[in-house]
Symmetry: C2
Subunit: 118 residues, 2 copies
């Protein structure tokens, strides 16, 4: 850990992956590979087109995902994780593992509570 709290830069990563749908988008692209706009939309039925577009643009600006437009009719746009974006995977992976373990821990706590109350 950094010695100076003011110099702690883990917020930088947060800024890039925080957003209501960004984690889901990243998961789908990182795991499922390249996807078209409507493919992503179908994978996330509850997201609005507006939010999908906005989040994709932000991730593209940060060089995390690549946007490729095929100039044809009907239009075709593909999104994929950049090589730079891949460098985030180990971090997201360890976060996933911690998160998974945390959920297990919570479950055990609840079971304990239920056992105490009977």
């Amino acid at each position: 850990m950094e010695k100076d709290p003011d110099q702690c830069k883990f917020v930088v990563v947060l800024d890039m992956i925080v957003g209501k749908w960004k984690p889901t988008i990243l998961s789908h692209l990182m795991i499922g590979g390249t996807k078209r706009f409507n493919e992503l939309k179908k994978l996330m039925p509850d997201i609005t087109q507006r939010m999908l577009t906005m989040h994709l643009r932000e991730l593209e600006e940060q060089d995390i995902i690549l946007r490729v437009v095929y100039p044809q009719i009907p239009p075709k746009v593909e999104y994929s994780i950049t090589e730079y974006g891949r460098s985030l995977e180990p971090i997201l992976d360890s976060m996933h593992q911690w998160g998974y373990a945390h959920l297990e821990r919570m479950k055990k706590k609840e079971e304990q509570l239920a056992a105490d109350n009977k």
Copy 2:
């Protein structure tokens, strides 16, 4: 990475450390050790008491920090990182390193841009 995007749990970690002042609070407690309420307040001049209280309570609920009340007048309350909270440190640390490198990368990009424009 998890095979199923719907099973990706790195959001769990996000939920715990996201919030306008949570990263700062965590940094101060993780790096500086146990702190009293007003010490934290002084370290973060711009935070309101309300937000400091709210974030501390949330972190306490998640077992990330410990709140110890000394029953005396005037009151004294100390906050510290729990052992469980410490298990988050490696993740935050790697996030910090990535974030730091990212800032360096951005700086180089800007320098490049400036060089191209002259």
